[in-house]
Symmetry: C2
DNA sequence: TCTTTATATCACCGTATAGTTGATTAGTTG
DNA sequence: CAACTAATCAACTATACGGTGATATAAAGA
């Protein structure tokens, strides 16, 4: 695909979101299915406010989706693109 | 690929490098073949010191390779992984 | 309605980093 | 040596971003 001039900022913005190991850990924790915010607090070691901020960012850019059920909000991966991306990156490292 | 705990930082570091539109423009400028630093100064609008800094970063993480010939240093894309990555990202935008 | 719980948001701080500039250095060529 | 390309260094500004504690919002149940 030819990179459109308009796309640079949007693409960079999304790479930047993945350029933070905390958010990668969140996404990895969701690999096996949806989790609540509370689950993610435990798994990630991040506190609630910080985690929530990361989740809003990931959601706003389409990396995760969510559904609300009662008091809980369940987050899950929007698709498998994150792991496609990480696979390519990992190949550059090893 | 299962994300190894050790890989998180390395992968994040590389995503972060792509998370900046200036560097994406540099990589895009190299799409059609190798260019000298002077060429890239013109194409990118960045000054020499700044551009050189970006190039060192891109080179140290394996996104570009370089060869020296006479006074000039020619940079080129190390492989096509950048565009694979951008393609996936673009699909998330459109 | 009052309480509890889960999540989102706000305000603030500290730090990291990009961008810029100017100067210098290194290496190559003629 | 003189001219040129590129890398590097130092210093500065501005801004973006992560982390955190406090507060707000929303849903469920007594």
């Amino acid at each position: 695909m030819k990179m459109n001039e308009k796309l640079f900022d949007g693409v960079a913005e999304r790479f930047k979101v993945l350029g933070e190991s905390g958010r990668l850990r969140i996404l990895d924790a969701l690999r096996d299915g949806e989790l609540t915010v509370g689950d993610l607090v435990q798994k990630s070691g991040l506190n609630q406010a910080n985690l929530s901020k990361h989740l809003q960012l990931l959601h706003s850019l389409g990396f995760v989706s969510r559904r609300k059920h009662g008091l809980f909000v369940y987050y899950q991966l929007a698709d498998d693109s994150v792991f496609k991306l990480c696979d390519i990156m990992c190949r550059k490292i090893t």
